[in-house]
Chain length 158, copies 2
């Protein structure tokens, strides 16, 4: 599996989230051998869980499978810039490289706002690569919110 | 139940965490009528879950019980200043008031470092009261890490 195919799997998780009426964000965790060990889409509404972002669900599943709260050498692919909650979880899990798709001016916590990885309180900082398959990730979100604005005026967090 | 007794319950959760060899942090969520609807201590090691901080576990339990990803009018008591992951989750859950005990210069994300509530990316900001039962919360942590330094040189995230 290549770099691009990992992000395509994350995009597939994002589309599946949209089909569940969840904000379309998807994530995968890849082990040091390049195998996908966890994949998830956002489930905050379905699970009644404000922490059920794609990244958190994928990290929790990968940690459970590994039997460890840390995933050294693992990479995380996510279709949207992580929020500060997810960025901090990525640091706690010792993720090696973070690849993300679209920028998130409204709620992002990596390249803007709290900039989680730029403070001494982040005890592990992954390598960060943004803008991967950005146009596709952004189109998914734009289409989702455009459709929802017609049906439902309430906003989402992500 | 009063303000002080809620923090005492959180301290009891922190002591129970220490008895499990987890970093001693405890949290409770209190509903608008003043009832404790969830209480938890840190379980990151036991659950192999880097997100299993006391606040996250208490928020997830309270949301599951309420059948909602938001807890308007609810307050959260925690023995230690939340890290950025937990602070962002507190914002997502729409917690009304955050009461915390000890300051956390090493890993805190409320009064230092990423200062989660001070950016426009935080779409809900609770009222924040620090230093509640601070000496007791701090003593629990100091005793735990002093004892562990003898037995185990590895540091914790919290």
């Amino acid at each position: 599996m290549s770099f691009t195919s990992h992000m395509h799997r994350a995009l597939a998780e994002a589309r599946a989230a949209a089909d569940r009426a969840e904000v379309p964000v998807g994530a995968v965790v890849v082990d040091p051998a390049g195998r996908i060990v966890a994949a998830a889409g956002n489930r905050t509404r379905m699970n009644s869980d404000p922490t059920a972002h794609a990244e958190i669900l994928a990290l929790r599943a990968a940690c459970a499978a590994a039997g460890s709260e840390r995933l050294p050498g693992h990479d995380l692919y996510v279709t949207l810039e992580p929020c500060p909650m997810c960025a901090a979880a990525i640091s706690f899990a010792r993720i090696r490289r973070l690849y993300y798709g679209a920028a998130d001016p409204k709620s992002g916590g990596v390249a803007r706002g709290p900039r989680i990885f730029e403070h001494p309180q982040a005890h592990h900082v992954p390598e960060v690569y943004g803008g991967i398959a950005e146009a596709e990730a952004e189109a998914l979100l734009t289409d989702f919110f455009r459709a929802r604005r017609g049906a439902d005026a309430s906003g989402g967090d992500i």
